[in-house]
């Protein structure tokens, strides 16, 4: 995956992000186009939620809810070019809604990385360090890093989604990256 191709109008090879033609078709009621977009987007949302610390089952459940929200709100999308930012806004809002509904104890249970059996099984893999580092970052830093460095959103897109000034987003993204590096340095002293 990594920094995704962000070609004008989206991917032309059926991948992510969807092309403007696909998005317009979905907005026009083309179920095949909508199904394709959601099928491609679902693993990305699950991945995002997992990266934010949700357990596997919870990440899938919230991702399903996010897809439903997208189906409902797609007609409100003003233009195809705004799709990806909108997509991540819906995904992030769904997670935030989940946070609001959960008690503190429930949140700790849902977001505990080390207590997840699946994570324990993978504790020795090559992702263990980055997972541990993410776990030590504040939630907002995690989100900004993910949206910027993994999903490749622009500072403007992130700023509008997080209700921040673009300049503040740049600063926050840089600070989050430095924090991650500091944590990583401690985890990998060599």
């Amino acid at each position: 995956m990594g920094q995704l191709d962000r070609t004008e109008g989206g991917s032309e090879h059926g991948g992510w992000p969807p092309s403007h033609a696909q998005i317009e078709a979905a907005r026009s009621g083309d179920d095949d186009a909508l199904g394709t977009i959601l099928s491609l987007g679902y693993p990305k949302i699950v991945s995002f939620y997992r990266g934010m610390g949700l357990r596997w089952a919870d990440a899938e459940e919230v991702a399903s809810e996010a897809l439903e929200g997208m189906v409902r709100n797609l007609p409100k999308l003003r233009e195809a070019a705004a799709f990806e930012g909108w997509f991540w806004t819906v995904a992030r809002n769904r997670m935030r809604s989940r946070f609001r509904k959960s008690s503190r104890v429930e949140r700790e249970l849902e977001y505990g990385l080390v207590d997840d059996p699946a994570d324990l099984a993978a504790a020795t893999d090559e992702h263990a360090a980055i997972r541990a580092a993410l776990d030590q970052l504040p939630e907002r830093d995690r989100q900004i890093l993910w949206l910027r460095e993994v999903e490749g959103l622009t500072h403007e897109e992130i700023a509008s989604r997080l209700a921040m000034a673009t300049g503040a987003t740049r600063v926050a993204a840089l600070r989050a990256r430095r924090r991650l590096e500091e944590i990583y340095a401690k985890l990998h002293p060599e």
Binding site: S39, Y42, R72
Partner: protein, 290 residues
Amino acid sequence: MRDPIHDLRAYAAHLESEVPAERARARAMAAMRAPSKSPRRAVVALATVGFMSISNVALATAADPAAPGDALYGVDRAYERIGASLGIGGDHRFERLTEAAVVLAAGDAATALSLVQESLSGLLDDPETARAMLAQLENGADVSLLQSQVRLMVEIARNSAETAGDDALVGAANGAPGQDIAEIARKIRESVDLPGQAGQDYPGENGGPPSTTPAGSAPGGPPSTTPAGSAPGGPPSTTPNVTPPGGPPPITTPGATAPGGPPSTGDDASPSDSRPSKNTEKTSPTTGKP
């Protein structure tokens, strides 16, 4: 030092690859089929329902006692249907019987039969309610009218079978042929014939004027296969020796209003007024056929 951003992207790709494509497709399809749960839409719906409930409660109350022919009868039935669809509103079968009595008194036997059969349609499929209804009839001191109506519907159904050639009644019976109506009449008796209670009279019924026809004494009158009082479970319901004081008001029998119906003669021992036991029900009292 390893590049944390590189590892972060690799980790994200790893997480993404853990989601099977089939599951992603299934979740996408499920999301597309999910019913809309827009909070705004729900609020609007709730507000609408609330407004309608408040503004229409007076209308519903006014319409409740309406009978066929009344201006509010359509409103009454509409509210009942809405209530039934929501699983509320109580049992309207009694109300149908009351309406049947009203229209019958007005001389509209066809509509009365239609209403009675509507009331019975649920009764026949719901023996528990049938028993409860009968128990209420048997135990209640103020249900003489309902009791009379139950008796009335039996009579209507039976007479309908005898007048199977009457197009108006057959049509009112939802197109059922005469033989089917006789079958309905048989089921009616079974449904109100509680185990261990066969042969008991409808309380209150005997105090009223007799409304049935002696066996073979009137044209169209259904011959009985069981002599009155001669067999367990099949006693006549109008036997004088069980008449309680203060019987119900006079019953308008279908024989007086329905074409071809048996005339009311006032013969208390009339077998046609009896409630045959289940065993005797196997033979139609009107046709003698099984």
